[in-house]
Symmetry: C2
Subunit: 338 residues, 2 copies
DNA sequence: TTGTAGGCGTTATCAG
DNA sequence: CTGATAACGCCTACAA
């Protein structure tokens, strides 16, 4: 079923059918109707590959996600959902590409085979060779996250540095003197995962400014690891009264470890962090946290990408968000003694 | 950068370059090497659209997911991850299409514009018009889930009927007489969501066989709703001592409601269900549940789809799994009295 | 208002 | 072993 077949049945030329479809040139009402009737009857749709070949664009964007083997956090899932949603609103399709590990070929195909008009890359590292390759390949792209030298790329990101610093200040204001930062998993941080490092910096800075005693640990991205990690912290640092964290998936486990240790949240121990709102609210108790607006960030990333595709020469744009901390009751004045 | 350019620089014809690339006809080692060197130097990759147009296939499969607005459960996320993974292993790309609601156009584009060679559809309803349209359009597809009359389509599915019945029998064996089924959200079940209905059937049958008192309720797919739902159940049915559920996302909330009511799990109250293993294990306490092998199901769905694409006339195949219930300690003998 | 013709980048058929 | 050439289905000057 192609445009020629429609033209034949309608008794017109292929170009007339094409123009009737795109409206880029006037077509008499009568023939337009006749053509439309046949199209409806046969359920014809233009072949996407042929159109892409002719127009030089695919009306598809790539979304490079962390390798499927590793579980996506609730926040990452939020990004995926909002990107797909925003793309659909702009009549763009989304091609998923797991990157890293064994999936080099997938990334290579998507990026270099002109399968997409542009790419959104998630979970950007401080030094990220996917970014290097995209730059080299000349394909428009936008990061959710940014590299160490983010001047010459477009991105949207969460200001983990500022947010974790704010958490620490908040805890310090409440009288906490011994606080810990629970980071994402060690492999990720070691690989140069931006939020992990920027959270460390913000934490160190705020701890220094307020003259606190700070500890930093990495922790697997799940409840189990959270429990083990918090248990270890409590054992090694009995003077600890508060945790700041960017590891939303581990928080439920931390709660559990605390309750096993006989510590009430927030009476005996405070926790504050950065998380997806949905997740923060569904925890028991709901977590005091800076709520990352994943919807907005995803939509903005698509917006930025659409602009770069339309005009690759346009200056790079950035969006760094630092949403306020929503108090939900997991922070309270430090206990007078333990 | 196209095949002609490579040919020009290598001093050969385009067809020779093409054959050197595909290996579909012998090429002398010398010229093959020369061509390859130039390809490597220029970073050439064949244009996917041109290839798709010529070959009549896109090397891409569509994955139709529930609308992005609604949150995916951990299990659904597992399906997405395993499908993407299995597709990447087969050198297939995955085009994501949110279906339902405002995203009709996306589904239509993917299905009818020859953008993909085949489709995997998630969250199939007993009567599902996406299935109807796919059938009508003649595009190969595989369901994760099945319709009410699943004979003439290929699918992989979880046997919720059997699994929930097993949960009930397990609870009955432990002496429970009053049990409730906590289903997925009411909208979904009302829309004919297969697992919801099949769970109801299995529950009703097992309850009847064992002469138990059963109740069924729907419950939003999140911890909050789980808490509200379990709270309501306990208030209205104080004689209740056990819950069977397919709503993994609500379980944490149920735990909370039970603990608020002063009921210990499993001492005073038992829960058993169907869930992703990862999720069941990360709950506190870990949930006794039939562990759905999302990885296997996703991989099998891709496998089935690849076969259907290769030969659309091949008979339909089905995979219905009923994994054993893993005892993790949320079920115990019914309390002698309450 | 409509038709003709050329080309997007590949692959495959037919010659050599 | 290699080259020329014709499609694949669509869009869009250029003509009429």
């Amino acid at each position: 079923m192609n445009i020629g077949e429609i033209a034949r049945r309608a008794g017109v030329s292929r170009s007339t059918v094409s123009y009737a479809l795109t409206g880029r040139r006037p077509v008499s009402e009568a023939t337009r109707r006749r053509i439309q009737a046949i199209i409806d009857e046969l359920g014809y749709r233009p072949n996407a590959a042929a159109r892409a070949l002719k127009e030089g664009r695919t009306r598809t964007i790539g979304l490079v996600v962390p390798p499927a083997g590793r579980r996506l956090t609730d926040l990452q899932l939020g990004f995926v959902a909002s990107v797909v949603d925003a793309a659909a609103r702009a009549d763009l399709d989304v091609l998923l590409s797991p990157s890293g590990g064994e999936h080099e070929r997938s990334f290579e195909r998507v990026v270099t085979g002109r399968r997409v008009d542009g790419v959104i890359v998630m979970e950007i590292r401080l030094e990220d060779d996917r970014v290097t390759r995209l730059r080299h390949g000349g394909l428009p792209f936008v990061g959710i996250g940014r590299t160490a030298d983010p001047g010459d790329m477009s991105w949207v990101d969460v200001d983990y540095d500022t947010l974790i610093a704010r958490c620490v200040h908040h805890l310090a204001d409440l009288g906490h003197r011994h606080v810990a930062l629970v980071n994402r998993n060690a492999d990720l941080v070691a690989a140069g995962y931006g939020p992990g490092h920027r959270a460390q910096e913000g934490f160190a800075r705020a701890v220094a400014e307020r003259g606190l005693h700070g500890t930093q640990v990495c922790c697997g991205d799940d409840a189990r690891s959270g429990q083990a990690c918090a248990g270890r912290l409590l054992a090694e640092r009995p003077e600890l009264t508060a945790i700041a964290t960017i590891n939303e998936a581990a928080v439920a486990g931390m709660y559990h470890a605390l309750s096993l240790a006989g510590l009430a949240v927030p009476g005996d121990f405070s926790i504050a962090g950065v998380a997806a709102r949905h997740w923060a609210e569904s925890l028991h108790p709901p977590l005091t946290a800076a709520d990352v607006p994943a919807d907005e960030l995803g939509a903005q990333a698509v917006e930025l990408l659409i602009q770069r595709i339309a005009d690759p020469a346009t200056p790079h744009r950035h969006l760094l968000v630092a949403p306020p901390i929503s108090l939900r009751g997991t922070t309270a004045p430090a206990p007078s003694r333990r």
